[in-house]
């Protein structure tokens, strides 16, 4: 690693995040906590990864550090001074590239320097250097729309490093790219970084891709969800370049999976247990398609897994990223079709029966599990049963849910229940009229 950079004075932290918290206002005026008590130090010459599921507030943390938003509690200190707005010397690479489509590659790269009010000649010189460095030579006059995704993100990188930042913030920079392109771009970046050619002090990388985090970072912070807290810190001392198939790298990936499937116990003590927390009507649900649920059950029930699989292994076999796999696995756990823990997934008796059954049996089994273990679904069904018309408007349940969660989460939760309820045929839903009914049309 950057031994040269590890001189005595550079060991002082570039960035210090002190017990930061962030909450957003819900429509009813209550606060929704998304980040809670996060501490972080960033030293010159290191790449630190923030790893967590969606909803862990890691992107929010990045925006607080970038000065794009203000924390509700705690403080961000950059070079010893509190951050109160976008600070000079902190630049950012965005997930969706955030290129200005009406500016050329050169225009996009020059943007930050123009805002720094440098002399035009200097702006041009530095921009062309950055374009060269990042491998965009010859594309100066191209518009973003003419470039492939990988080339666009190269522009994003060039724009961020042309200002010679002390800290480069990267918000899932590779997640909008296909696997091969992401790999190439990652390796190119690590190459330049390893040779000390990048004019960057330190890097803070937000990602949900476990392999990527292990490959790139010197240190990983793993976040819990709802609210986001740092649940563990994993230093990575492996030498670069790190091969994905290297057993040491695999072992680390496995370890991160174990950390991420462990569930935090309710409460603020930070202790964790591997038991699913109890769900209530007010539990936010993720909308996972029943095709995915059935697909994962089938995959785990078949050889070579025979009902029990290592999560990293099955993720690789199904070409799914951890962030795509976790919600499916957790929904199976919620429905008691499977148990998840220690980086493994195990089918329950119900799950194994489901795998062996035909469509109609599957539906009735799914209906049983749904009504037994998803209180909201049972609640909808009960309301429909009790009413003589057997109809109930969507808004009735939405209002109930919004007592417990933000508007968006409530919509999403209800969508999940609608989709599962339709599959199981426990109730029907008419989107045009926005009502739940007991009968299917006709």
């Amino acid at each position: 690693m950057n031994d040269a950079a590890q001189t005595a004075d550079s060991l002082a932290p570039l960035l210090e995040v002190q017990s930061i918290g962030k909450s957003f206002l819900k429509p009813d005026g209550d606060a929704l906590l998304v980040l809670d008590g996060v501490n972080l130090k960033l030293k010159r010459g290191e790449i630190v990864g923030l790893l967590g599921r969606s909803g862990s507030g890691k992107s929010t943390l990045l925006r607080l550090i970038a000065g794009l938003d203000t924390p509700s509690h705690g403080a961000v200190r950059y070079l010893g001074a509190p951050v109160e707005g976008p600070a000079p010397g902190i630049s950012m690479v965005f997930q969706g590239f955030a290129l200005f489509p009406w500016l050329t590659v050169l225009g996009n790269v020059q943007l930050g320097l123009e805002a720094m009010r440098l002399a035009p000649a200097e702006i041009r010189k530095r921009s062309l250097q950055a374009i060269d460095l990042i491998g965009l030579d010859g594309y100066e006059s191209a518009y973003p729309r003419e470039l492939s995704g990988g080339m666009r993100q190269r522009v994003g990188f060039a724009r961020a490093l042309v200002v010679h930042p002390n800290i480069l913030l990267m918000d899932e920079p590779f997640s909008a790219l296909d696997v091969l392109t992401a790999e190439t771009l990652r390796n190119d970046f690590l190459d330049l970084w390893g040779r000390g050619e990048l004019p960057i002090g330190a890097v803070l990388l937000v990602t949900h891709n476990i392999e990527e985090a292990v490959q790139m970072c010197d240190r990983l912070l793993i976040f819990s969800t709802h609210p986001g807290r740092v649940v563990s810190e994993i230093p990575i001392d492996l030498p670069q370049p790190r091969e994905p198939l290297d057993p040491l790298v695999r072992a680390l990936v496995d370890r991160v999976y174990v950390e991420m499937t462990a569930r935090p116990r309710q409460g603020r003590d930070g202790a964790r247990a591997e038991r699913p927390t109890l769900v209530s009507i007010g539990t936010a649900l993720e909308h996972v398609s029943t095709n995915l649920l059935a697909g994962l059950i089938e995959a785990v029930s078949e050889p070579p897994y025979e009902g029990r699989a290592d999560l990293p292994a099955i993720a690789q076999a199904l070409h799914m990223e951890a962030d795509d796999l976790f919600p499916v696995a957790e929904t199976l756990q919620l429905l008691h079709f499977a148990e998840v823990g220690g980086g493994d997934i195990r089918l329950t008796e119900a799950g194994l029966t489901f795998a062996r059954s035909e469509t109609d049996e599957r539906k009735s089994l799914f209906a049983r599990q749904l009504l037994a273990y998803v209180p909201l679904a049972a609640h909808v069904r009960r309301v429909l049963d009790e009413r003589s018309s057997h109809r109930a408007p969507k808004s009735r349940f939405l209002d109930e849910l919004e007592d417990h969660m933000a508007e968006e989460a409530a919509e999403q939760t209800l969508r999940a229940v609608i989709s599962w309820g339709r599959y199981a045929e426990v109730f029907a839903y008419d989107d045009q009229r926005q009502v739940f009914t007991l009968e299917n049309p006709q």
């Binding site: 203000t70 976008p86 200005f100 489509p101 009406w102 729309r145």
Partner: protein, 571 residues
């Protein structure tokens, strides 16, 4: 134009004057000469203008046409200025937005000719000079253009994608740089579209605004509008034919020199990163891109913009949305008080001059005009929806017809009124019925070109599924064509209906020589009140019409549009 969008090769090329430079040279200097000539006219005394009669010779028309076109240009400039300031303020200040946004919504529904009485005010600004009258005419055109442009810009500012906004902030763009690099380019496609719509409306009203009488004040500004007015007074159909021809040429020039290039360059600003469906081409844009002369001008302009980047401070702090309860209470309290006071004064003013019975009568007239609008929109829909679908699903036909429909929408049909009116007089037809179609003559095209756009956006695969399953006849219309164009049709119908209300003021009353035709309706009421200089009745008429428009928009069009969007959108 800024040099950013010019290909680098153009900037580096040695200066060899090409044919595009010759074209550009001629155009630029012709425009300058015209400007100088008209500016000279402004300082002349008003009496001079009144003494000088409008000539009906066709040779006088190019000059008149140029002056009309120039008024349009000035009004468009004013509208842009208004758009950038008003919409920016509304988008960036929460408290200001609470007033400005609803106000814009109301202004949009006020019939434009309702603003005619402001002519008295403008004349008093520059007593005895032409400038005041010119300002009044420009202001009338401005009121027909500004509101929807401001709305579009406001909407764009509010919907800037959060990542682009964050990128702009993370890289410390100051307000000036942010405007030129982010806000204006992002708003461009929608703004250009709205400018075109505004222009269409503007032509209609510039013609009406050049010859206006309010009470004892009569102003006749040299232009196509007053040429027509005089032709009507003299029952000269030949002169009207010349005026229509001149107008056609002016609109074609505007279209070619201003809007085609704007539309073609708007493609650069689209956020979708895919290459556009059909590249819009424009010879004028090619000229601007290829001409060294205009390149230099663009370079100078972009230099000024860049100079601005170095001024003003970049925001180093996050705008903290500190919601002070006390300030909010004071602000909104003051607002409510002001609105209540204004409402009370207006009501008292109207009731002092018009008894409640009159108010009821005017509301009844409103219902009559409403009936006309409804029937006409229904008729236009029955005619144009099938035609629009037929054209729209044939891409080559659509490419040929679409510009024609847009041109027809821009053409000020009030130029055609005299022809229709002379017919009504000649055949002794009932004005209550036969004046009505004039209301929709100019606005029906919105239905046509929106339906064409909708039908041509129907994905090829869906068309093929229809063929594959042998869906034909009425079933094809019901299941495929009509649902696909429905949201587009609604957009067109909203625009057409709004335009028809406006047009009713011009079309429910008509003159042909000394023959005066009038239909029973709210438009005729407002027109007569304005002509008589009866301020109270004018205000009453305008208030009633605005209420009709606002209520119909809120209670009918908006829910219908929301429903169409939800049910029929493609994704």
């Amino acid at each position: 134009m800024s040099t950013e969008r010019l290909p680098i090769s153009v900037l580096r090329r040695r200066f060899v004057p090409g044919r595009w430079d010759v074209v550009a040279f001629v155009l630029v200097f012709a425009a300058l000469a015209l400007l100088a000539h008209s500016a000279y006219g402004l300082t002349r005394p008003l009496s001079h203008l009144q003494a000088e009669r409008i000539s009906l010779s066709p040779w006088a028309l190019p000059g008149y046409a140029a002056q009309t076109a120039l008024r349009m240009l000035v009004a468009m400039g004013a509208s842009l200025l208004f758009t950038f300031t008003y919409a920016t303020l509304a988008a960036k200040n929460r408290r200001a937005a609470a007033v400005l946004v609803p106000l814009l919504d109301i202004l949009q529904s006020v019939p434009i000719l309702g603003f005619s009485f402001t002519i008295v005010f403008f004349l008093s600004l520059t007593p005895g000079r032409v400038a005041g009258a010119e300002m009044a005419a420009v202001f009338l055109v401005f009121t027909s253009q500004a509101w929807n442009m401001a709305f579009s810009f406001y909407h764009s500012l509010r919907s800037i994608p959060s990542e682009l906004d964050e990128a702009a902030r993370a890289f410390h763009l100051g307000p000036w740089m942010r405007f030129w690099r982010l806000e204006l380019p992002f708003a461009m496609p929608a703004l250009i579209w709205n400018m075109m719509m505004s222009m269409s409306g503007g032509w209609f009203f510039v013609v009406a605004a050049e010859a206006i009488s309010v009470g004892h004040t009569t102003v006749t500004l040299p232009g196509i509008g007053s040429y027509i007015a005089r032709a009507i007074a003299e029952r000269n159909l030949g002169a009207i034919g010349w005026a229509i021809a001149a107008m056609t040429v002016v609109i074609l020039i505007y279209d070619q020199v201003i809007f085609r290039p704007l539309i073609a360059s708007a493609d650069w600003f689209r956020l979708e990163q895919e290459v556009g469906l059909t590249p819009n081409r424009s010879w004028a844009l090619t000229m601007m891109r290829r001409s060294r002369l205009l390149g230099l001008a663009a370079g100078a302009f972009s230099g000024v913009v860049r100079f601005g980047f170095n001024r003003g401070t970049a925001p180093n702090r996050v705008r903290t949305q500190r919601r002070s309860r006390l300030h909010d209470v004071l602000w909104y309290g003051a607002l409510i008080l002001a609105v209540a006071l204004l409402a009370w004064f207006t009501a008292r003013y109207i009731l002092a001059h018009a008894p409640p019975r009159t108010v009821l009568h005017v509301a009844g007239l409103g219902l009559l005009t409403l009936l006309r609008v409804v029937v006409l929109i229904a008729l236009a829909s029955v005619i144009w929806v099938p035609i629009g679908v037929y054209v729209g699903i044939r891409p080559r036909l659509a490419a040929a017809v679409q510009p024609v429909a847009q041109f027809l929408a821009a053409f000020p049909v009030n130029l055609l009124f005299p022809v229709a009116v002379s017919g009504i007089v000649y055949f002794r037809l009932d004005p209550n019925i036969w004046l009505s179609p004039l209301m929709i003559l100019g606005t029906q095209w919105y239905i046509l070109f929106n339906v064409i756009a909708g039908a041509s956006s129907l994905p090829n695969e869906l068309k093929q599924v229809g063929e594959n399953l042998r869906v034909g006849g009425w079933l094809w219309w019901r299941r495929i064509a009509l649902p696909a164009v429905f949201p587009f049709y609604i957009t067109g119908a909203i625009t057409a209906a709004g335009g028809s209300w406006n047009a009713s003021i011009v079309s429910e009353v008509a003159d042909w020589g000394n023959k005066h035709l009038a239909a029973e309706g709210l438009g005729a009421y407002i027109a007569n009140a304005t002509r008589a200089g009866d301020f109270a009745r004018t205000v009453l008429g305008i208030v009633v019409m605005s209420l009709f428009v606002v209520i119909i928009n809120r209670a009918f069009w908006r829910p219908l549009y929301a429903r169409a969007e939800r049910k029929f959108r493609m994704s």
